[in-house]
Symmetry: C2
Subunit: 494 residues, 2 copies
């Protein structure tokens, strides 16, 4: 342990000061979540000697906390999509992902993913990940059954529906309950073992080793309490996750996310991002994050309207819950309500988990407005306009789809309290190192940093806009670009 304190992820160790190499290999991978697992499998299969360092005592990382859902499609559709009656063209997947990528979308990565997403589905099943051929048409968060295909984004909602033909693309593994991410990682972990990867648990990467020309040669690691200098002949792949658990980094880079009281992460201390920055890697998109509250199901609640503390609407409520939540976070103040009438109201399925409570109820909307302490007319005029348009089957202000539109005119009326400072909003970060689709890490001029690769949330990949996130996009990115980073790192550069 002694001496470890002098190392920092934010300061690279000079190659000339490495006293010895305790370990030499071709490819070093840091972090055993989905990205690290896929990178390790592919690098080993390409013939490289691979060492994987994981800080915990087992595999999984934050990927194992998830539902294991992966955003897949294109090429006419996976067999699951097709069996459910959907064709899914590559161009529609491409257009949706470009739009979902937001103002800073990496079109090159989206193109690579859209073209090869179907092949990636086959790769996943080849690894042994099981998918049941079944489809859940309702708007849900993830199945508690072992069903597979769900609508996991805003495909059917404005403005996405105008840009790309919608298809459900969330593929959940065949696993009963909400722990599909652990199952996915169990499958991948077994493949890693079989690939002959040297896995070192309880091993924290302390910093990169760099020569004076800027090339990365390995890492300093504390492994089972011992300081070790590890050399990677070909490359180091950072698969360390995001930085949501490093609250100083969140405060500095993504202060909006501090409003979320449930960061989703295991380690996620930004150490990989910091290591990349220490050698001149560009961290981009650092202010963006995913936030969400599972305010539906049941989907009847989508008939309701969200208002902020001024009584104003701000989003078409038929969007993915994460997009709605992103807009909630951008409204002024902490107070937000979902207004529903007797017909639309059912208790939210995640009411207890999310701490969504009834903020006010009454026989008239005036009662609700008054009980919420809103200024006169703030709420009632919003409901009036909405009802007037909804009666005509239209939502010209926010473009909620016709199927969800009906006047909220059946008393009693209810305001579900979705206060940011009270309810449970989950979050993780979407900023990270800028990389090529090969996983090669770039500096601010987009020149390569030789010997350094990144994948998963240590990198900035497909998901990079909270308002465009869809469930399964991060695991899609981790697994797909993790594989590519592993393959690229296995090629010895000149």
């Amino acid at each position: 342990m002694s001496g470890a304190l002098e190392f920092s992820p934010s300061r690279a160790h000079p190659l000339s000061r490495v006293p010895r190499f305790d370990l030499q290999t071709d490819v070093i991978i840091i972090g055993f979540g989905a990205a690290g697992a896929c990178a390790a499998i592919e690098a080993a299969r390409a013939g490289s000697q691979v060492t994987l360092f994981e800080v915990a005592a087992g595999s999984g990382g934050t990927s194992a906390l998830s539902g294991g859902e992966i955003y897949l499609g294109g090429g006419g559709g996976t067999r699951i999509q097709q069996a459910a009656g959907f064709t899914d063209e590559t161009e529609d997947l491409f257009k949706y992902l470009v739009m979902a990528g937001g103002p800073n979308c990496d079109v090159t990565k989206v193109r690579a993913y859209a073209e090869d997403s179907l092949a990636h589905f086959h790769w996943l099943t080849d690894q042994g990940v099981k998918y049941k051929s079944s489809y859940v048409p309702e708007k849900i968060v993830e199945p508690i059954t072992d069903d597979c295909l769900i609508w996991s984004g805003s495909e059917e909602a404005w403005p996405f529906v105008d840009a790309a033909r919608p298809a459900p693309r969330g593929h959940c593994p065949q696993f009963v309950g909400m722990g599909g991410g652990r199952y996915l990682m169990d499958v991948l972990t077994l493949r890693v073992s079989e690939s002959g990867v040297d896995v070192r648990y309880n091993s924290r990467a302390l910093c990169l080793i760099q020569d004076e020309s800027g090339r990365v040669h390995g890492v300093v690691v504390r492994s089972d309490g011992e300081l070790r200098y590890a050399r990677a002949r070909s490359g180091v792949v950072l698969c360390t996750g995001g930085f949501v658990m490093n609250r100083n980094m969140v405060k500095r880079h993504a202060p909006l996310l501090l409003r979320s009281n449930r960061p989703i992460g295991t380690v996620d201390d930004g150490s990989g991002i910091r290591m990349g920055m220490s050698v001149g890697g560009a961290a981009i998109n650092m202010s963006e994050g995913f936030v969400t509250i599972p305010w539906y199901p049941p989907e009847s609640l989508v008939q309701g309207i969200f208002i902020d503390e001024r009584g104003q609407r701000f989003i078409n409520e038929d969007c993915y819950h994460g997009r709605v939540s992103q807009y909630i976070f951008q409204q002024p103040g902490d107070r937000v309500w979902l207004l529903v009438d007797r017909v639309a109201y059912q208790p939210p399925a995640f009411q207890e988990f999310a701490r969504i409570e009834i903020g006010a109820a009454g026989e008239t909307w005036e009662d609700v407005e008054r009980d919420l302490g809103l200024p006169p007319r703030a709420l009632t005029s919003t409901v009036e306009i909405y009802n007037c348009h909804a009666a005509q089957g239209a939502d010209p202000l926010l473009h909620k789809a016709r199927k969800w539109l009906r006047p909220l005119d059946q008393p009693p009326f209810v305001a579900l309290d979705c206060r940011v400072d009270h309810c449970v909003y989950s979050s993780f970060t979407l900023g990270g190192l800028d990389t090529l689709p090969t996983g090669q890490v770039l500096n601010e001029d987009r020149d390569l940093i030789p010997g350094l690769y990144a994948a998963g949330r240590a990198a900035c990949g497909l998901p990079r806009w909270g308002a465009g996130y869809s469930s399964g996009m991060s695991l899609a990115d981790c697994t797909f670009f993790g594989r590519r980073a592993g393959r690229q790192a296995a090629r010895r550069e000149p």
Copy 2:
């Protein structure tokens, strides 16, 4: 020239590969705007040998494009504030600046500035910057007369007015017309010359020189077309400005600013930020920027209300024009209007410059709503609620101060078109290198990078939130923390 292409600000040059030093000095300053000038003056006065490299043929940088206004106060008030009848306590300046700094405010820097702002005013006058003892009470952008003191922020507007006792703090130099920034730079340039600083114009810093331990030793520079290796025994101070003219960087880090069609900058290519990043410096707050359209004066327009393309209000209109503009940029869509009636309407003073035109006019608000193509009730219900509350002297939704409130009920009615894609919105960046109040550049763990300093918009200083910016804050930061960086760099570190 040959060979220069192999250098990049994003890649440091190893000390061991420096063939010779063409120039050796104590302190190297890069960039001759306000930050560079003040750093040079103070480093030279502290006894250091100082070389200043400026890429242009003369001093000024982006500081010279400004009005030269500096945000000053505290300590009971400057003599100008006092003569105008304002006392300005340090704590009020502090509280205002903390709030204006937004969610990622650097309280340590704000504290330093609030405590020493009055002394900084005296330093500026000691340099020869002249201020007339006069005060303009109206809401203006900057005086075209030689008057001094103006309200240059949101001090009197909600929510700032609830946090700190307001005082006007924008101090404009005694200069007739809008070119006060050039005058300010002329004064500072003369002081730099008198300080014995070695100024090299036509000199572009290509990259930093760093040893393997991470310490910065100098810069590679192309000076009058010749490649030069320049050594700084004590430190390099980056005063290169922001990155608003580097559209790739803007796209990557602050895509919202791409909506502005008038970036304010000279060089501002982010080269200093990139140089800092190349040695592990943390660039923070990179998504933030200042945007504005001078929609007032005349101040009667503040009686109007802004609506977005949904007909919704979104800001108390008595805020500083930059805060209003920041909210305009955050609304969905490109269409924004300022609604006024006959009593409030006067042609905007900057109508031609800003391309603010009349979007619709009519004898009723229904006419205006229809002519703008808004859905029925979208605009009219907003005006109804506003008028109803304004008649009672209140704005419970957005808290515009009482003095601006009156029902907009005197026809004809006018919608001034403030479309983002048509009008002229100016912008500059507010993200940069993380530094201590001494100007010392920090890595992502907030450890020092030895030998490296930054000030002005290459650093992330006082102004770091578009919604909190006030005129004069950037020059306050450049001059004040430029001075500190110069003094600190002049101290030889162990």
